[in-house]
Structure formats: structure tokens, C-alpha cells
Symmetry: C2
Subunit: 379 residues, 2 copies
Amino acid sequence: MRSINENSVGFVETKFYSCCEPPNELILSSGEKLGPITIAYETYGTLNKDKSNAILIFHALTGDAHAAGFHKGDNKPGWWDNMIGPNKAFDTEKYFIICSNVIGSCKGSTGPSSIDPKTKKPYGLSFPIVTINDMVATQKKLIDHLGIKKLLSTAGGSMGGMQALSWSVLFPEYLDSAIIIATNTIHTPQQIAFHEVARQAIKADPDWQNGDYYGKSIPARGLAVARMMGHITYMSDKSMQEKFGRRLQNKEKLGYDFSSDFEIENYLKHRGDSFVQRFDANSWLYLSKALDYFDLSEGKKLSDVFSRSLLKFLVISFTSDWLYPPYQTKQIVKALKVNEIDVSNIEIDASYGHDSFLVETEDQSRLIEHFLKRVTKEQ
Amino acid sequence: MRSINENSVGFVETKFYSCCEPPNELILSSGEKLGPITIAYETYGTLNKDKSNAILIFHALTGDAHAAGFHKGDNKPGWWDNMIGPNKAFDTEKYFIICSNVIGSCKGSTGPSSIDPKTKKPYGLSFPIVTINDMVATQKKLIDHLGIKKLLSTAGGSMGGMQALSWSVLFPEYLDSAIIIATNTIHTPQQIAFHEVARQAIKADPDWQNGDYYGKSIPARGLAVARMMGHITYMSDKSMQEKFGRRLQNKEKLGYDFSSDFEIENYLKHRGDSFVQRFDANSWLYLSKALDYFDLSEGKKLSDVFSRSLLKFLVISFTSDWLYPPYQTKQIVKALKVNEIDVSNIEIDASYGHDSFLVETEDQSRLIEHFLKRVTKEQ
């Protein structure tokens, strides 16, 4: 268990920012309006006098604003604690780090489990579809609220990488650089397919009740199946071999029954069941749909969307990531290079699959540390 | 639609063979007994006088005995019709082809949906766990019944390849050769993981009723989810790109709702829903478990299990098959070569993923045709 030491940001608290009160609702990509909106966020480190050391971090599908340090009474640190803190990749002695929960989620920001002020009941499926661009639009409001005119950098993996890409296209004049990790500019049919099956698993649960289950039984079985399947795609063939092999669960020999014989089976079930305690099924539906809708260039040529960019990019992928394989980040790099944009691209040799962006610390830290130093110098 | 022409075996009928009447039940790998057992099978071509031209074909998880030709009143041919027939890879002018449905299935052979003679009710979960070796043991009884002393060859892909491997180890003196396609000698944790999630999806369906659903509502939602997930693993990133891309379903633009926007979503749902009409959920549980239990060398060195083999092997894999990737068949080839066994190994360049063994006809046909000619000559 990680603990509070000289490399930890220590105890932290989630803060909340509210905006978009009617009649100033946010106009979403779909044309629908959403407001009021609450954004949960955390910050680590200190914003310098000229507000030039801010870095915005983006979480992945089931993440939250709690990226580093500890909440009081909780012995589990934030989701990227190995990367954020004094002398870590995102060095809080130097930089002011911000991480906010995306809209559509269930971790403090407005989402389908929030109370709709019009009906005084949870939105459920009446919550509008949100896109990656919509998430980014609310983050821009938060950054304005914090008085930051320009971000030193932005960074995220997976869905977080999509937000970093979206920022670089929607608000290029508001940032100096972007760190894009294990992601894609456009969701492929295979990526959509995995999500659609998970959505079908949730919808197949009779407790889902067309999204209207708040205060009743939650669709725990469907959501657990969705999470189990997701988990397979986050690991790799090799990492499963290394971590589990064909070891049996509390048994000396095959049981010849349907109780779980292999450790991998029990592990997945455990991950599915524990996920249900911490995440809302409707939020899973909304956020997976936001990923599936993601198409950075919206049908145009990818190289065209970067044409006016003066940003510096660091683009990272992992050899064993088969959910967002390295060929996809190579397409980003190609589109940037065509525009003579400053881009460093590294494919890190790691066996953890897509999860590498969360657990591979050594190479990522060195790359990000050097990149941020250079960006700071050339500001 | 394929039709009856000079390259078709024409109309065929499924036949049935019964064995293992108590007290002569089959002793299964688990130690449990099963009997009586019915085996559904089909044959194509003519057994020659010295019964030396017989080839046993094995189907994959959801396949059946109907490998080629047409059943009367049905306009869909058998599952490997593109490979079996006059002048095809398995040339019925030369060879006598046999294909039987595995035990545990629901396509005519004894399985969990069969009536247990003791209770006069469907077995359900009281059906014993069967293994690939158990399937092969019943096939051996069928071959004995047909009076065939030695098979010219055996062939199968995926679960069919495992049966071919099992035959080559259990009964090497009863065959001349084996054609092993897109398979593995031991199920990996990733392969087990995909199956376990699908099993959990079936079990999560309230209609599953611990397997006791016959004559009532079937667990259609759970089985559809299981099939959808399986289907993703049978295709490839590239084949999904080629077949669907991000084309929308009956729409000109994104719907911003949870109805299926993309064709791939609708396709998977359709495949899931239609599968439910033709396959039994309990059989899916049993057969997936048989695959997960498969370990050809049973903890021993793989090269040791082939040591006494005089067979000839043709081992085929496909570049885009990520469910049973080529590195796994290479391990078979290595174990065979260590024993100086006659093996040809080809990795076919095809984009269809694991499904390649069913749809890639050209290269497979040529390879199999030549291999069978050589084996016949050297008999």
C-alpha cells in the first residue's frame, strides 16, 4: 500500500465548481442544453504568480478527479498517484496540477445519477448524450474560473488522451503542449463493439429498468459483466499469463464443475463485483457512448485539424496495448508531422496491455519529466 | 447463397449412432459415467473397399455434424461446405468424410438438453462436465462402429483443432495424419477469461434458473450477450474496419441516443439474437468449459506427448487471428519438430481474424489438397 511520504501530495480534498445556470446552459454537441453543471476537481501543487505552471490532467472512463494523494479516512491514493507528486513525473514542486471529473460521470460532476432540477429526481436516461468535446467545454470553464489564461500542458491516457486531443483542436491558443497517451483520434468498430456488448449486458439486467433504478436495486449483474469484459481488454495476453497462468483457485486439481477453477476467473468476478460498488451503470452507458462517438477530425482529414497548431506534443503508446494499439497513435504523429508540428513519439515496451498507462511508471515518468522541462524552458 | 451444383455434395441427412448403454457407460475424464450416448453424424463421399480413405472432421464450439451439403427444406449449406465436396479441399470424389456433433452440444448428440433416462427430464446442470478427450473417446466408438481401422486424416479448426490434437495423442495408431487449424494445445488465461465473462453473462440472466429452464423462458438475453462478445473475438480489428468502418445504421448523422448508431452495433445484436434461436445456453457453458480445461500435455512437456507419433501434421494459423494467435500454433510445430515428426506449418495472410478458418478458402484448400494427396500416396 502506498503511503503518505515525501513523494506524496498528502491529504487532498475534492472541490466543486458550478456553472451554466439557466438561462446560460451549456449547448452540447447534440444541440441539447445542460445546466446547471457541477464540476468536481482537485488541485495539487501551487499556481505560480504569472499562472504559467498549470497542467490539466484527464481521467479515463471510470476515473475521477482524485488523481493523487489521499482522502482523509481512505488508504487508497488517487488513480495516478505514482505520476503526480513531489519529484514525480508531474512534479508538484514545480507545477500546479488540476484534475476534474468529466460530466456524465458519477464522481461528483453532473451526470445521469444527478438530480434534475426540473423534476427533482435523478436524470436517468433523460440526461442528454455528452461527447468528449462537451467534457472539454466544461473544463475550459473551470480553467477560466481558476483565472488561468494558458495551460503549460494537458495530459491523459485512453479517454483522457481523447480529451487532450480535443483541447488541442478546440482551444489551441489556451495551451502550450499536450501529452497524449494510449489513445485514438477516432473510435474503431472493434472499440465500439466491445462497448456495445457491455452496454447490452447492462441493459439485459432486469434491474436496469430503462435507467430508472435509483433508490431501488441497481443492475449489479449486468454492470459486473460489463466491467469484467472491459478488464480483459485492459490487460494483455502476456500480462494475464504472467499474473495468473492456469493457476487454480484454492484447488489442487480441476473441479469438473462450474465453480471457478482458475484464478483468472475469480479475479475477474471479484473485479466486476467490486466495481459495482463504486460506479453507476448509467454513467457507464453515457461515457462509453462518448468514446464511441469520438472522431477528432469529424470526417475531415486528420492532418487538416492540426493545421493551425503551434503546440508541442508528446505521444506515447505501449507495445502490448491491443485495445488502443500503437498503430493508432502513429496516425496522430503522422498528422502532426505533416503539419511540421513539434512531436515526440515513443512506443514503450511494456506487457501490461492498455493498463500500462496507469502502471508503467519508469519510462513514462522520464519522458514526461523531460518533455515538461523543455516546454517550460521554451514558454 | 450457395446452391446445389456439381461441386456440392447435394442433399444430406444426419444419422445417429448410440452407445454406452448402462452398465457400459463411458468413463469421463472427471471419473463420472455417461450413458447411454447418442452421436449425431453425417458422411459425404464413399468409403472405399479397404476403408482407407476416411477423414474425420471436427466442428468448433457452436458447430454441428452438418459440415457440407444441404438438409432438405433448408437453403443454408453445412458449416464447411466451401471446403468439402467434389473437387474441393476435402474432395468427396476421393475421400469419405465423417463429421459428428460433440457430446455436450445440442445438435443431436447427448448434452445437457437431452433427457436423462434416470429422471425422464432434461439433464440441465446434472449433466457431467465433458472434456475434449471425452468428445474424442465417443468419436473413436463411432469410427469403430463404421468399421474403420485407420483414418487417413483428421481435421478441424479452433475447438475442432483441439479434437484433432487429442486424437493424435490418444489414438495415434488409428490415423495417418492430422490437420490442425487456428488452435492451441492449452487454453491461456485470456482465452479462459473471455469464456468466463460469457458464462457470467448467461448465469446473470434470471431466466437461466441454474440451468433448469427447459420448457420455460430461455436465458435469451444472457446468451445473446455471450455470443456478441464471442463474435468480437472471432473477427479482427481490420476485418471490422473493412466490413463496417463507422458506417451508421439507417441514419444520416449521429443520433445522440442509445439506439444503435453504428452498423457494427446492430450487426452484433442481430448475431446475438439469432444465435439464441439455434443454440442451447447450457451447452455453451459445457463446451466453453471443455475448451478452458484443455491442456494437451496435462502439465507435462508438450514435446513429450508427441514422442511416439508417426503421424504427418499440417498446422495452419492466420495472421489476423488474435484469439488463437500464430505464436500458439508455432509451439505445436516446435514440439513436433523436436520429435522429428513430419510437419508442414503455414501462417496464412488473412484479415478475417479467427473466423479465417471458416471463410478463407483459397490458401487453405490448396494446402489441404496437397497434404492429403501426399498422405494418400505415402499410406
